[in-house]
Amino acid sequence: MTEPSNPSARKAQLAKRYRAERRFRAYGIAAISTAGLILFFLMGSILLSSLPAFTQHYVTLDIDITERHVDTQDLANSDWRALARNALRAQFPEVSGRKEKRALGKLLSIGSSDDVRDYVTANPSSLGTSIRLPLTLSDDIDLLLKGVIDRDLPENERVVSNQDLAWLDRLLDEDRISRQFATRIFTNGDSREPELAGLRGALVGSLWTLLVTLLASFPLGVMAAIYLEEIAPKNRLTQIIEVNINNLAAVPSIVFGLLGLAVFINFFGMPRSAPLVGGLVLALMTLPRIIIPTRAAFAAIPPSIREAAMGVGASRLQVIMHHVLPLAMPGILTGTIIGLAQAAGETAPLLMIGMMAFIVDLPTDVTAKATVLPAQIYMWANNPERAFMARTSAGIVVLLSLLLMVNATAIYFRKRFEKRW
């Protein structure tokens, strides 16, 4: 930078340079605040749109558990739906005509029959009596009550008709509508009805899948890391393996899905949509993510430990098993947990092997058809019903909180057991 000889020009140039300095700092602050704002906005918008899914509106009705609709021998197949509908119709005796009656019945969710059934199954003494029970309302009515659907819109722009609104207002006046925590989102499997759809099937599927991933990738990853870091001679072969592992960590996840489809499903004939295949695909993906931090954990153990063990006559494998491995365990576990958390959020390779099936029942083992949490979120996001948007966001909130907990565990492990040599 050439200095101007004129003092005032020199001063001006200095001021210019300081302005540039401030500008540069401002860019940095702007970049960080943009990133922060984005994070805030992303979390905020998802949290906000998930809120409606965590509560559900119910209408409290008087139900006659009459013999006519209830088969005492076969409670599961009794006509609970008719009971629920009749109870609602009893509130509006003036409604006549098939069309109106049907419209009135649509205020209730299909799940309202489960409400009655579950109550009667739990309290068999209620048979033949009249009970007071909150029944699930349908998703559109629920959204209207939550204000997600604007009741001031013209009738043809909202899903709820004026007639429905009038009925609803009467029920509101009679103080029959209540809002409760929506337990179904945790206790139910998937459903076509948003108010009945739950995450339990996906959570169980994720659990099975991650179990397979853990069982396959943890031992393999740790053994591979031990071999590469502690045993292998430094030659061309190990170098190739090393480069390979680093590259594998950067292969797009969808390619692992193609591998799973071609090798596990088409070549070995393993079942589609099964946690076994999904878990194995994720295990191959997680393998480099476990090997790399595990090797780092081994490398961080000072050689003096190994030398001391060898000095008292331990063999190479004894040094590793009795001293290096236990000392490196916190680092290995942290790496494994973080790798598994990544696998838990992975969707694309699982779509390839069909783990986005519509599953109502819980998967009972690793070969049953199953779906996982992120795939469930993807499927719900594709559903057109408005109430599914809240359900999807709620699924994301559950997924993110689980991942946060898992990662917090990893950080705790590291903080608690990490040793500095």
């Binding site: 340079r17 540039a20 300095e21 500008r23 540069f24 860019y27 940095g28 702007a30 970049a31 960080i32 943009t34 990133a35 984005i38 994070l39 992303l42 998802i46 749109s49 393999l220 990853g221 053994m223 591979a224 071999y227 590469l228 045993i231 292998a232 393996i241 390979n244 592992i245 590259n247 950067a250 292969v251 797009p252 996840s253 969808i254 390619v255 692992f256 193609l258 591998l259 071609a262 070549f267 070995f268 090997i291 063999s315 494998l317 958390a341 838990a344 959020g345 969707t347 694309a348 779509l351 390839m352 069909g354 979120i377 993807y378 996001a381 994301i396 997924l399 993110l400 991942l403 990662n407």
Partner: protein
């Protein structure tokens, strides 16, 4: 016996032989005048290895290979019954046989040949299972017997056990290599089959992509066209938009955090940005499709722009957000690796802090930053969920970011999701696209490595 119960059997046998081996060496060592070579646990482990290692290997190989052998036998059986069937007919017959055997179709759908074939198939499967159980268990028992004879006071059990342990570890690290080989081979095989129906030049340079294959021969628009240029162009556009977002924000925040920020701000902002990296991509996809895209579309409508609701812009912006932590943490590392002496030298010559950064630190860190950007591009090209949820399906060849474009990964998902027969050009096209994706990302990763190694300044 099923594979899992057989496996459980072997585990039980393993436990038993551990206890048994331990007892055995105890009895031998009791009252012996010589010192035993290996500790008890090695003798016990040796017996466990004898009992389980070979049978487990056999179990895995048998389970992997026997379906192939049975299929071949079934095929030759069917060939004796049906005169010169075509490949398609043969596949249908095999599938029917297996479906009938599994009970997933009922007797109304099959003819006599299939019924006979099913009986044959059943006998093959049962015989294979019986033979497998027998072979595995016999081998295990023979192993125990052989191992027991070897156990002795001066037997070097530790050496044997350690040798096997090292072998297992070597196999474990070879699996990483096998995975790569598996990826390359499976992609290449399917791609070669794809290029039997579609020429390489049409795939790589064709301008029209519509992979619909007619179900019936005479249907309109019978053969699909597989020109992948629109997909490459769409992928490039979304990646480009993502980089425009991610590189400035990621780089500037890395610079600010490593050069200006107080430790306290760094302690908050760094984990905050890294949190962006921990968010699953399906969440970004949801954010792009249901928050950003409608927002852009409505905002565009207000100022008179027509944005598609699946615009490349929305997908690109959100992908950029996803990449920010990637660029910022990698750049942070390389900026921190620049020695403090260089900064001190620049400051001593009278440079302001920003001049030091721009003219000394950044040039020194440049190879690392370039490689970070290359890795980020590779990430963006391979990213799937954001584009599947927010970008389009139709292959438009356009340079307008407000329109909808599709990408390589979107098409792979679209071609493979849902049930379709595995051998159609449509499904094989997905593998060809996967191969292209694999090689492009591989090339970018290698290039990134090369840039760092070639241009890195060696300090100290």
């Amino acid at each position: 016996m099923s594979a899992s119960s057989l496996f459980l059997c072997l585990i039980g046998l393993g436990l038993f032989s551990f206890i048994f081996g331990r007892r055995r060496i105890h009895t031998i060592a009791k009252g012996a005048s010589q010192k035993q070579h290996s500790r008890d646990v090695y003798h016990a482990s040796f017996l466990v290895i004898c009992a389980t290692f070979v049978p487990i290997v056999l179990l895995i190989i048998w389970t992997g290979v026997s379906p192939l052998v049975i299929d071949a036998l079934l095929e030759s059986f069917l060939k004796t019954r049906v005169s010169s069937p075509s490949v398609g007919e043969m596949n249908v017959m095999m599938a029917k046989t297996k479906a009938y055997y599994a009970g997933s179709i009922n007797a109304a759908f099959i003819d006599d040949t299939i019924a006979q074939a099913t009986v044959y198939y059943q006998s093959l499967v049962e015989r294979s299972l019986q033979a497998r159980s027998l072979a595995v268990l016999l081998l295990a028992i023979a192993g125990v017997a052989m191992g027991l004879r070897k156990i002795a006071l001066r037997f070097t059990a530790r050496h044997s056990v350690e040798r096997v342990a090292q072998l297992i570890m070597l196999i474990a690290s070879a699996i990483a290599v096998l995975t790569t080989v598996g990826i390359v081979l499976s992609l290449i095989f399917e791609t070669i089959r794809f290029f039997a129906t579609v020429s390489v030049s049409e795939f790589l340079f064709g301008l029209h992509w519509s992979p619909q294959i007619a179900i019936r021969e005479d249907q309109a628009g019978g053969s699909g066209s597989f020109g992948a240029i629109p997909l490459f162009a769409g992928t490039l556009m979304i990646t480009f938009i993502a980089m425009i977002v991610a590189v400035p924000i990621g780089l500037m925040s890395a610079i600010y955090l490593s050069e200006y920020a107080s430790p306290r701000l760094r302690g908050i902002a760094k984990p905050g940005i890294e949190m962006l990296a921990g968010i699953p991509t399906v969440v970004y996809g949801f954010f792009a499709a249901l928050v950003v895209a409608p927002f852009l579309r409505d905002g565009g409508a207000d100022i008179g722009l027509t944005l598609s609701s699946e615009s490349a812009l929305a997908a690109g912006l959100v992908m950029g957000i996803m990449i920010i932590p990637f660029i910022s943490s990698l750049s942070d590392d390389v900026i921190n690796a620049v020695p403090q002496t260089l900064r001190d030298g620049a400051a001593a010559l009278g440079a302001t802090h920003s001049e030091t950064i721009q003219q000394v630190v950044l040039p020194a860190a440049l190879p690392g930053i370039v490689s970070a950007v290359l890795l980020a591009i590779s990430r963006a090209i391979g990213e799937t969920m954001i584009v599947v949820m927010a970008a389009g399906v139709a292959a438009n060849l356009t340079a307008n970011p407000f329109e909808s474009v599709t990408t390589v990964t979107v098409q792979i998902v679209m071609l493979l999701v849902g049930d379709q027969e595995f051998d159609s050009a449509k499904t094989l096209a997905a593998f060809a696209l996967g191969l292209v994706l694999f090689f492009i990302t591989l090339a970018l990763n290698i290039l990134a490595l090369y840039v760092v190694n070639k241009y890195r300044e060696q300090y100290d």
